[in-house]
Symmetry: C2
Subunit: 233 residues, 2 copies
DNA sequence: AACCGTTTGTGACCACGTGAACAAGCGTGA
DNA sequence: TCACGCTTGTTCACGTGGTCACAAACGGTT
């Protein structure tokens, strides 16, 4: 497990364990805070932040309290200070170089989407198994063959890999990523993949999302129980 | 804010309410069942299905029991019969026509991805606000202007809408979709949008996924507690 | 300095989902 | 026919997360 990029966060005292559900919401708060900062807002209340993030105010306060007591009673939270603390906690004070494996429709779209590099996740490497794609350039990055993955990973200090291959190739790619030292994987392939415990895995499955919508859509005709809003959990 | 609609629970015999977490897993079971069916398997145990779906066997049995008692003790589940029941429950015995709004990188990639139509979610309409894109053809479908949304929705009987616009346009598009009668929305725009209670909303936020991975990646240097595997729940 | 309205931080309670354990039930073979 | 092994369906205990409510504490005002 070579971890080329060590987090700059100092040892610090015993960190409190943040619930997974809270971690999933922090990026939403972060985004709203950024927007407020750009709008010149310097202080924000939990109620306003809750409204922007689409959650309940008590939940916001509890979530933020896991980071520490960064608010001021009777006033609210200092936007800039909270942004700093939250960015630090999320590990966003540094860049995390990303590799995308698989350059079909989705992979290319992801590579061309500029929103990643802007937010601290530069796409520094692209891989594919198809030799007719290798050598071409996408969004300024030359596609390399997946057999070079170990060298590529070491070269760029890649810690996050995105799988955008067909389902049949996904598990093999995941194994290769892990072998190359990648310890965080985002899987877009429509299949279940397994990784060692020490590797973080998240998945985005478009077909599953549509089928979930289908379920409630179909129920809507029979029972009036449509739970709107669903997390990215 | 939004009051939970309680009163109306009238007609039809009370269908058992399937937990949201279970609904999110049904598509995974469905996929594994399809693969087994294609491989000629006629019967499957909860343990095998659990392995394929990456969950625990007890959870599989409990999830399936919400659909009814479709298994045979000592034997397992009949693949074909379970497939049928599950498809029916998920509303997959019919097609759900889908409209994609926003044809940037992501929208085009989604439109070109053939995996939707195959699985009962045909992309029948494409919309964009940019008049230079309107009129072009993507994956055999002509892009129309978003102002035509009401007519388009009625024409094709669209019930599911996919938002693939920039963040600033997302809420407006969502409002238009709802006004046009669309009652299920899948949002890819990196922003929180709100819809009426009777509309189902799910979101896929790539930046959020990466930031969640970043959190655990950053922690890995300080605390050895990386909860791998995370649902799209 | 003391009071007052406001907002945070947190403790208590409740609902939901998870995992293990087990009885019920089915098929098989003697 | 009966006993035995196997797998389901369900019950129970537990942990996590969500909501409510309220005391603590801060700035501003008198």
């Amino acid at each position: 497990m070579s971890s080329p990029a060590q987090p700059p966060t100092p040892p610090a005292r015993a960190r409190r364990k943040i619930p997974e559900a809270t971690v999933a919401r922090l990026p939403l708060y972060l985004r709203s805070l950024h927007e407020n900062q750009h709008a010149g807002v310097t202080t924000i209340s939990s109620e306003r932040l809750a409204e922007l993030a689409g959650v309940n105010a008590a939940k916001v306060r509890k979530d933020l309290s896991y980071l520490g007591s960064y608010g001021t009673r009777g006033v609210g939270y200092d936007v800039e200070y909270l942004l700093f603390q939250m960015s630090r906690e999320l590990g966003l004070t540094q860049d995390w170089p990303v590799a995308i494996v698989g350059l079909g429709n989705l992979g290319q779209a992801l590579a061309n989407y500029g929103g990643f590099g802007d937010r601290g996740f530069p796409i520094v490497a692209l891989c594919d198994a198809d030799r007719s794609v290798v050598g071409t350039e996408v969004h300024g990055v030359v596609v390399r063959h997946i057999d070079d993955l170990p060298a590529i990973a070491e070269e760029h200090g890649i810690s996050i890999g995105i799988i955008a291959t067909p389902a049949v190739a996904a598990q093999d790619v995941a194994d290769r990523l892990v072998a190359a030292g990648v310890s965080s994987i985002l899987n877009f392939a429509p299949t279940v993949i397994t990784v060692p415990n020490e590797v973080s895995l998240r998945k985005v499955d478009l077909a599953v999302e549509l089928q979930i919508l289908s379920f409630y859509q179909q129920r809507r005709g029979t029972a009036p129980l449509p739970p709107s809003v669903a997390g990215a959990d």
